[in-house]
Symmetry: C2
Subunit: 135 residues, 2 copies
């Protein structure tokens, strides 16, 4: 995967710490040393998923759209999810080979099963749990 999960978590952690205050993308970008546009893009995804609320215009910014205890890490994962955890499967195996012919669907199932277990694990932790770790 990309760095998106970590970026999203960083954003959400800052919002959780701000306790309702609307935080600006420039501030967030400064905390992570990345470009504000990347922050806004990720916020846009988080917003589409109903995790954050944004105010435009002067004194604008973002805040959590619901309690940190209601945001599961699996929710975050879903937002940034890209390729399958076990790899990008765009192979075109040889259909004349008995194995090549059907391995695609078996690998797909394997990917799906493995990912589901993974997501189950992430469901157990909330943003609030994560933020609690900060001293």
């Amino acid at each position: 995967m990309t760095a998106r999960f970590d970026i999203a978590m960083h954003i959400l952690t800052l919002l959780a710490s701000a306790e309702g205050e609307y935080v600006q993308s420039d501030y967030i970008a400064g905390s992570m040393n990345i470009n504000p546009v990347i922050v806004r893009k990720e916020i846009s995804h988080l917003r589409n998923a109903g995790l954050v609320d944004t105010r435009e215009g002067k004194n604008g910014g973002s805040a959590l759209a619901k309690a940190a205890a209601k945001i599961r890490l699996s929710d975050v994962y879903e937002v940034v999810r890209g390729d399958s955890l076990l790899g990008r499967n765009k192979n075109k195996p040889n259909p004349d080979c008995a194995v090549g012919k059907q391995i695609g669907k078996h690998l797909e199932k394997l990917h799906a099963d493995a990912e589901q277990m993974f997501v189950q694990g992430l469901k157990k932790t909330t943003l609030a749990d994560f933020v609690k770790m900060f001293g």
Copy 2:
């Protein structure tokens, strides 16, 4: 991740199907429609992990180094494992920010915990189980 897990699985499935016969990298590459050098590279990793045995020279090729039932999918995953499942974490957050300062280590732990669960899941399936799915 990359396509390496699927490539490794494809290789191992072919070897398992060959039941001890030594299979050549060109044949394997043909089954997957990829370059033989990539196959040899992956075989090299699988060999280092003790999963396959290779013979050089004429009539050479590779075979499983142990029974398919003794090869867990987690073993395969370990071989191809690259970045953490939740992303490549090479961020250098702002140390002047209370959150930025410590989020790195907390994310690392999160990555590690999540991955461990994932690997636990993969441990339950062996190459033999996977190959059984092929009709």
